[in-house]
């Protein structure tokens, strides 16, 4: 019998001692007290606050689903429907736009992992180098990229000029190019980071016999990649996708705060930054809580869909 099985069997026996409940209480006390007061209760409170109007001073007043209606609702304006809070939709669009970097980053991470998976001397050095941006303080990285993206004397546009591109974009000052600039920065930060390491671990978990068998059948590099590596990595790919989407909906705060203040003209305001603005600049705590709840439901719904779809797409060995 396996160790796990033995343990399960033992669990089925009568309680070892009467004092176990009391011991458990003491073990749990510090964490569970903190958890219930500072995590669990605030989650419930967020739902409650989302049904109120509250300007931080005074007491919250119950307004039902007014906030949700104000965020998600539409009204008639002349002959057409207009969103009651057009900013919300705009910032949702920004948030989703920035998530376009996720698939690009995943492909690049996988390619890098394939390269780093070669048996080469000194490969650890490169792995460390590529990972570095991920552990850098995001605030410092944001400042650095603000400098690199400076339209006139920044490194990027100077480089583009030396390649003969005279009218390079103004990046963070351009409503059109600020989001692509954010994506570029995020790619630099993450391509060699966690996702690449997860892919590396996935690659190292693929049994060598599969490749040996393919060699005997005379399969080339592309076919091995297509028919062995890619399907065998599908759980890793799926995991990275789910985690990245969850993070993506909550992303963009530090970049917006440090580099653009959400501008120009709201072009880089994400849902996170919008919640921050509503709550801590305009002190509309109820409205901001409703936004947070909507964000939660978006993340939750998307994750549910992912799990459902994942069952069909992911190949588990």
């Amino acid at each position: 019998m396996s160790a796990l099985g033995e343990r399960r069997a033992r669990r089925g026996e009568a309680p070892r001692r009467g004092s176990e409940g009391r011991a458990a209480f003491l073990f749990l006390l510090p964490n569970a007290a903190g958890f219930l007061a500072l995590t669990f209760f605030p989650v419930l409170a967020a739902f409650a606050l989302s049904l109120t109007r509250w300007q931080i001073t005074g007491t919250p007043s119950y307004v039902g689903v007014t906030n949700f209606a104000a965020i998600l609702g539409f009204h008639r304006e002349g002959h057409r429907l207009a969103a009651s809070d057009p900013e919300f939709w705009r910032y949702l669009y920004n948030t989703v736009f920035l998530m376009a970097g996720i698939p690009i980053g995943m492909v690049l991470s996988l390619l890098l992992a394939l390269l780093l998976n070669q048996r080469l001397k000194g490969v650890v050095f490169f792995r460390t180098l590529f990972f570095l941006p991920q552990v850098c303080s995001a605030v410092a990285v944001a400042l650095l990229w603000k400098w690199i993206l400076e339209p006139d004397v920044g490194l990027l546009n100077s480089g583009l000029r030396s390649f003969g591109i005279a009218n390079a974009p103004a990046w963070l000052l351009s409503t059109q190019w600020a989001k692509p600039a954010f994506i570029m920065m995020a790619l630099w930060m993450t391509v060699g980071g966690y996702n690449c390491v997860l892919y590396l671990a996935g690659l190292q978990g693929i049994p060598a016999e599969l490749y040996e068998a393919a060699d005997i059948d005379g399969a080339g590099a592309w076919r091995k990649l297509r028919h062995i590596t890619w399907p065998m990595l599908s759980p890793t790919t799926f995991f990275i996708l789910v985690i990245s989407l969850i993070a993506g909906f909550q992303g963009g705060f530090i970049a917006a705060f440090m580099m653009t203040d959400g501008g120009p003209a709201g072009a880089t305001t994400t849902l996170m930054f919008y919640i921050y603005q509503r709550a801590f600049r305009w002190f509309e705590m109820g409205y901001a809580s409703a936004l947070a709840v909507i964000l939660f439901l978006l993340v939750f719904g998307l994750t549910l869909i992912n799990w459902h779809a994942g069952k069909r797409v992911v190949h588990y060995q």
Binding site: F27, L28, P30, L38, L129, L143, L155, I254, A279
Partner: protein, 348 residues
Amino acid sequence: MRMRTAIANTGAYLLLVALGFTMSLPLLWMFSTSLKDPNAVGLYTPRWIPTRPEMVVVGGKEYRAGVLNERGRRTTVAIVAARLGRVVIIDPRGRKRAVPQSLVVPKEALHFEWSNYAHAWKALRVERGFLGLLRNADGFLVFYLNSMLVTILVTAGQLVTCSLAAFAFARLRFRARDALFLAYLATLMVPAVVTMIPLFAMMRVARLTDTYWALILPGLFSAYGTFLLRQFFMTVPTELEDAARIDGAGPFSIYWRIIMPLSKPALATLGTFVFLHTWNEFLWPLIVIDDLGKKTLPIGLAHFQGPYLTEWHLLMAASVIVMFPVLIVFVIGQRYFVRGIALSGLKA
């Protein structure tokens, strides 16, 4: 076959070096900018190597040095003045004369402006900082100490509370265990922004905003850490514990003498992630801390950006100051860190 492997390896190396170089450029640029003389920052044609104008002294007066290229001969000269496409120079023989500007190139000398770091370090003054112990102190010294205090307490606290709770979930039987564990699991799905507003309100009611408590308390407990350690504890074989129990060991001594020593890798992984997460945490400190003396490094740096908005040499020096310790910790511990991610599939 061997030949082919050698070619493939060389190709892979070339690719790695090219990619590695490209990826490093932003960090090198940060470092380069942080060491530049203010006048060498923001040039239309940027230079990678920090330089500053070289000076020469002629007759007790200091002039800008230049290289004169006359009939194929290069000589160092002093530049006195420049006007209308001509430059007035003093040549090595001490003669003063005017030559066409195109013949003279101002000389630049390698120069690392290390004082940028001291300047950035001291630029913000804190009247009372770091638990009120420091008066009229350097801004970044205070931010550093605050960050260290908060990060160490949170990391240690979380390791203690999460391991205790994880032990109870993994090894003890009690009423409502599964219900409580489910509550822990459920909150893992909830984005941090959802709890942020109520938590801020609670801190306000308890009059804890703008105190170290606000920075430390919410970090001491985590559903995530409890879950991670509980999963690891479940994989520890029970044989040793059974032997200890027969010898009369209670739950606490089993936790402390058996489970904890066997779980060092999991504890180290959690510790590393909590450390990095807390050190780099931005949004929560930003909203609960207003007093400059209690700011941590990330929000200290954000504050620093305000008055020094375009002084890139100082901003980059400050960024290096903020990044450096984490980079060192990572480079030293990277093997372990990377293994931690691979094992647990987790992110900070």
